[in-house]
Amino acid sequence: MTTTTGDDTAATAVGSVTPLPTHQVVAFAVMVAALVAAPFFVYPVFLMKALCFALFACAFNLLIGYVGLLSFGHAAFLGAAGYGAAHSAKAWGFPPELAILFGTAVAAGLGVVIGALAIRSKGIYFANITLAFAQMAYFFSLQAAFTGGEDGIQSVPRGTLLNVLDLTQTLTLYFVVLAIFLGGFLLIYRAIHSPFGQVLKAIRENEPRAISLGYRAERYKLVAFVLSATFSGLAGATKALVFQLASLTDVHWTMSGEVVLMTLLGGLGTVFGPVVGAFIVVTLENYLAQLGAWVTVVQGVIFVVCVLTFRRGVVGELGNRFKKSL
């Protein structure tokens, strides 16, 4: 898989910052406009769920798309941050901004520990190891006293953001979540398109060569891993406040599979792919929810179809058709 940086950036060397390609700016503007208008047409809580998962998928994509590492344990970060935010808001009375920050910090800390151990391996080993660590996080959440076991942490207070914005108002909450999503999205975009991001791509394409050029590949990978964990945590903490619930679902390995599905369907290593993938998957689950086990079957079918015929994903295919990197 060679990097398709697009015509505007082809001549840019590692170390200089690429100018913003026009088509990406246009696509971003379209996305923002659609998301600002959306809550007046679609049920806002559903949109907030999709936004949280979109941020989660973008964070996951940072690792698979730009470092080439498939983590099968990202649920640990989503779930741990959810528990962190929910517990600090409910038991310690943290205001929402601090609760989200605390949850995100929990995920970042977990990311440092798991990352330091997992980053030494590659490919299938990496996938397996992250999966196993996520299982540890799952069993910890199942048994620890403060997580509420099977019940989870329920009726988490949403509170008032910065003492100004009343988050019990659904529409206010929606725009706060949208702001968090856009902030995370832009930061991830910035990280990918910085000199740091270029080094990550160099490591993905040829790690020994990047090392021979003097880059400490292990450190770059660890930073990318921690960044990915942190933004997954931001998504998880926000999600806990939106649903006023932190539960085992978010730590279970099926959630790790779901984020892989979203990113794969949208397009691995594309800027907008994870967002599109997350919206498609969340919509599908919403419509299939009453069919029970069929949700799993449909997810499986999407996996199989994507892997066999559609490896670039929705956005990747679109970008390929118009010869633009989206």
Binding site: G292, V297, V307
Partner: protein, 295 residues
């Protein structure tokens, strides 16, 4: 009552037995995963679903054809193995020239489909499967009561594991297999049909999973999700033993089962996580696993 470290021997040996039983399943499943990984270079995420299918085929044979346990032990691995062969021929083989991660994602997708379909049809609660009459009851060993069926599971799975090891490490067929693992194109140049060998290897690994499923049916119930969580533990076992190592899978499988059993006695809170903790420690010291070779 006698005690060891303050724990009644009865409880200690009871957990040792449970640990050995779990270890037998870990060993058989991780052995199949290792054999498949060795030649195909993919982690077969469908393995847990195929283990479950083995148990279900045994159940169907009894319900629809009146064929009991011993027939199931013979037929179920073949039937499930054939479905594996079909899967490999139609889909998996298209992915060999791609990144190995796609193989993982594809088999994960199949696992979701199979488990979803069975869950839709049979719900999440288990279906009972009777123990074979010849293996009912048990014997008193003086220090503990040993149910016959459990002894059979341990002995039989150990025999299957060792036979597999013998075939791969000590026979001509196994030599071809190991050679193809090292360098498939060279082996093909010698006139050996490597693609067919890959297909049959996948079928064999899947058959082993199904065999473990039949063995498990009378102990645990036949449940659509019986393999879903088990396979995650087995992945950890495989990582500890070293991917692709045959003897490594067998030894670590049994050893970790026993360690898990003892953890239940001495520190029950950690019994679910002990395998993952061991995995983290092993990776710190030996990133390629205990028996694996660094690539």
């Amino acid at each position: 009552m006698t005690t060891i470290f303050g724990v009644p021997t009865q409880a200690l040996f009871g957990q040792l037995l449970i640990g050995l039983i779990n270890g037998a399943f870990y060993a058989m499943l991780s052995l199949g995963l290792s054999v498949i990984f060795g030649l195909l270079n993919i982690i077969n995420f469908t393995h847990g679903a195929q283990y479950m299918m083995g148990a279900f085929v045994a159940y169907f044979l009894l319900q629809w054809a009146g064929l009991g346990y011993w027939w199931a032990l013979l037929i179920a691995p073949v039937v499930v193995g054939i479905t594996g062969i079909v899967l490999e021929r139609t889909t998996l083989k298209r992915l060999y020239q791609l990144d190995h991660l796609y193989g993982l994602l594809l088999t994960f997708g199949f696992a979701l489909i199979i488990q979803g379909l069975f869950r839709h049809e049979y719900g999440s609660s288990g279906l009972p499967y009777p123990m074979p009459a010849q293996l009912g009851g048990g014997r008193n060993l003086g220090f503990m009561f040993l149910p016959n069926y459990r002894a059979w599971v341990i002995v039989f799975s150990l025999a299957v594991c060792l036979a597999t090891w013998y075939v791969i490490e000590r026979t001509r067929l196994g030599a071809y297999l190991r050679a193809a693992t090292e360098n498939p194109s060279l082996v093909q140049a010698f006139g050996i049909n490597v693609p067919r060998m890959i297909t049959l290897t996948y079928g064999f690994g899947v058959g082993l999973a199904a065999l473990a499923g039949v063995l498990a049916a009378p102990i645990y119930q036949v449940n659509p999700l019986m393999g879903a969580d088990l396979i995650i533990v087995v992945f950890a076992v495989v990582v500890i033993g070293g991917l692709g190592s045959i003897m490594g899978s067998i030894v670590t499988g049994f050893a970790l089962g026993v360690i898990e059993g003892f953890t239940k006695v001495f520190y029950p809170e950690a019994s679910n996580t002990v395998i993952f903790v061991i995995m983290a420690l092993v990776l710190l010291v030996r990133p390629a696993g205990l028996f694996g070779r660094a690539s």
